[in-house]
């Protein structure tokens, strides 16, 4: 019973329930939302890319930073992927590795600026958001990479399934499982929480704060790089506008999923469920016949509600701890 109670208390459970509820309502109104081969595939496939970004974002937010540059990293690595396919005959696996590495390097630049220059990540990554996008615009210009330039095998990868689960979803779930394990069990993972809870205490305690922050940003960059390669396999068309604005979706997904914006609490699993909820709402509202404007408003309300809920829970916890101390 206590186990069930503690499960119900988890933030992730609440988000999951909200997700299932939305799914149930939408499917009741339009059964094809879930019970058609396209509907089932899209349900799992569409959030995959955002899940990767949300997981990376959660790692960074947990250390009390934020990475706003991921949209531009997705764009750069997606275009890099396209160019590598177009200009070199490298095998797909090598291209994937190169793009992920490129994303990691861009993430390391963010991390180094944040860790060593001691400027808030919000400012640094806002800067690199524009800088990376600028490089992308300069590089790609009005050029566009089309589906016919991408190897068929890679395009097929983006839409095919394994035992009814789209391959992209498989990739994102494997990444999620790996990172979730790391954050929960590995020493370095726990230290990310410690740094986010109280950075000063973390320094006093002798944690390697700088290298851990670097790690979080490198991971976020690498995941954005992976998202960029997968973007190519899913969408097939890459122009200079790729990934515009996804950084905010990633932050939104993490926050909705219960990752506290001031760091130190939340899980990557929650962020991933947040990504599922956000994407599914985006897909579901037009099917319910709700107008564009309201679709955005609903997403906004969700984010605000998540943050208010966070605050209420934190206050309650605070009072409870105080009461316990005074007893």
């Amino acid at each position: 019973m206590t186990r069930l109670a503690s499960l119900l208390k988890q933030r992730e459970t609440g988000i999951l329930v909200a997700f299932l509820l939305f799914l149930a309502v939408t499917t009741a109104i339009n059964p094809r939302f879930l019970f058609s081969s396209d509907g089932w595939r899209d349900l799992l496939l569409t959030p995959s890319i955002l899940v990767l970004l949300a997981v990376g974002q959660a790692m960074v937010i947990i250390t009390r930073s934020v990475d706003l540059s991921v949209g531009s990293i997705v764009a750069l690595t997606a275009y890099l992927t396209g160019r590598l396919f177009l200009d070199t005959g490298l095998p797909i696996a090598v291209v994937v590795v190169l793009a992920v590495l490129a994303g990691m390097v861009l993430g390391l630049i963010n991390g180094a600026l944040v860790a060593f220059a001691k400027v808030p990540a919000l400012v640094i990554t806002l800067g690199t958001l524009y800088a990376y996008r600028g490089i992308m615009l300069q590089w790609a210009g009005s050029d566009r990479i089309n589906a016919s330039d991408i190897p068929d095998a890679w395009l097929t990868f983006g839409t095919s399934s394994l035992l009814g689960i789209p391959l992209l979803a498989v990739v994102s779930l494997l990444v999620l499982a790996g990172v979730a394990w790391f954050m929960h069990n590995a020493r370095a993972g726990r230290e990310l929480y410690a740094i986010g809870s109280d950075p000063d205490a973390a320094v006093l305690y002798g944690l390697k704060v700088k290298s851990r922050v670097l790690l979080a940003f490198a991971a976020s960059g690498a995941l954005a790089g992976l998202a960029g390669v997968l973007y190519v396999s899913r969408y097939g068309t890459i122009s200079s506008g790729v990934g515009m604005g996804v950084e905010l979706e990633a932050v939104g997904a993490a926050v909705i999923g219960g990752v506290a914006i001031f760091g130190g609490s939340g899980t990557v699993l929650g962020a991933a469920i947040g990504a599922y909820l956000l994407t599914t709402i985006n897909r579901g509202l037009p099917i319910l016949g709700i107008e564009d404007f309201w679709q955005r408003a609903v997403v906004g309300l969700l984010i605000i509600a998540a943050i208010v809920l966070d605050k209420l829970l934190a206050d309650r916890q605070h009072r409870k701890l105080l009461a316990e101390r005074n007893q």
Binding site: N30, R32, F33, S36, S37, D38, G39, D42, T46, G141, S142, D143, R144, N146, A147, S148, T159, Y235, G236, T237, S239, G241, V242, M244, N282, R283, P286, I287, G289, D292
Partner: protein
């Protein structure tokens, strides 16, 4: 696509030549630079170099120049910023070009430079993207709104047998040209195709992902949907990509405006039967002929002027110096490999 280096070199050479030329001119005190231009000395200035769309219009312009025995060259900036074309206009003016054929990056920013060119006797033709009318002699327009709307309706009617539900996947909800086409298509459908019912119009904001999701939503919320029209290049490519791996492939027709390069894959795999776009090559071809007609004095840009444009036939100048290219070109399995833009 790799035309940057050579293009830039031409640009630099043009600048060097101009400097020499203007020095020479100022030495003999002449200001009549218009006279030094050849009979049909035409300079194309696209929005930017290295753009496949303008590579195609360039090819058309060159072909036309060869036909009427004029000289042709293309110069331009590497990026499409508002004032990047000014130096190229000035250069062409000082070289005494017979005509400048330009796709404007900004309706006003290049106005003064063009006015100077015209004062010096150079004719100005805008194509693809216009300036304010007072800065040019004629504008060769690709977008004859009626023609574009009618073509898309014709293609969808052909694809679905003139009967059934269709939907439109547009760009942004406030995109002026898309909205105009949609209105005309609605009118055309109501008047001439009573069997076709337009059930929904959704907006993909010219974003791949949004267009993807909107396509999915259309297919799921309209079980009887027979066809989708997407009058935007981003939208049609995203919709095609979605359809190509969907259970609705082959059951729901798709047409609209797209470029052959982005749609080749989907035409070949049977997702899309045909789509349309004006041919940028024809656009360049017609623009060069319009420039030639202006230089030779056949037309002045007045409404009602007529001129011959080689294999495209006769054209009439409309109000405000507007010349319409006419109906867009249809692309399908048979001809798509003839185009590269």
């Amino acid at each position: 696509m790799k035309k940057f280096p050579s293009g830039r070199r031409t640009g630099l050479m043009a600048v060097a030549v101009t400097m020499a030329l203007s020095l020479g001119l100022s030495a003999c005190g002449s200001d009549d630079s218009g006279a030094s231009g050849g009979d049909a000395d035409i300079t194309f200035i696209p929005k930017n170099l290295g753009n496949p769309y303008f590579d195609a219009s360039n090819t058309g312009g060159q072909k036309a120049a060869k036909e009427f025995d004029g000289s042709f060259k293309q110069v331009g900036p590497t990026e499409a910023t508002p004032d990047s074309q000014v130096s190229f206009i000035n250069t062409a003016t000082q070289q005494g070009a017979g005509a400048i054929v330009i796709s404007a990056n900004d309706p006003k920013a290049i106005g003064d430079a063009l006015q100077e060119a015209r004062d010096a006797g150079t004719k100005v033709v805008t194509f693809d993207s216009d300036t304010d009318p007072e800065y040019r002699d004629v504008f060769v327009s690709q977008a004859d709104a009626e023609g574009i709307a009618a073509k898309q309706v014709e293609l969808i009617a052909k694809a679905i047998g003139d009967k059934g539900e269709v939907a439109i996947l547009s760009a942004a909800a406030n995109a002026t040209n898309q909205n105009e086409w949609i209105k005309l298509m609605e009118k055309d459908l109501a008047a001439n195709h009573p069997g076709i019912k337009l059930v929904d119009t959704v907006y993909g904001n010219d974003d791949d992902q949004t267009s993807f999701d909107k396509t999915a939503a259309l297919l799921q919320s309209h079980p009887n949907l027979k066809g989708i029209i997407s009058p935007t290049t981003v939208g049609i490519a995203a919709a095609a990509r979605y359809l190509s791996t969907s259970q609705y492939k082959g059951k729901v027709a798709l047409t609209g405006l797209g470029t052959p390069n982005q749609m080749r894959e989907y035409v070949k795999d049977g997702t899309v039967e045909s789509f349309a776009l004006w041919s940028p090559e024809d656009l360049g071809y017609l623009s060069a002929y319009a420039a030639d007609a202006l230089i030779s004095g056949d037309i002045t840009g007045e409404e009602g002027d007529t001129f011959e444009a080689g294999e495209l036939g006769e054209y009439t100048v409309g109000p405000d110096g507007l010349v319409g290219l006419g109906d867009p070109t249809e692309f399908n399995k048979g001809n798509i490999d003839d185009f590269d833009f």
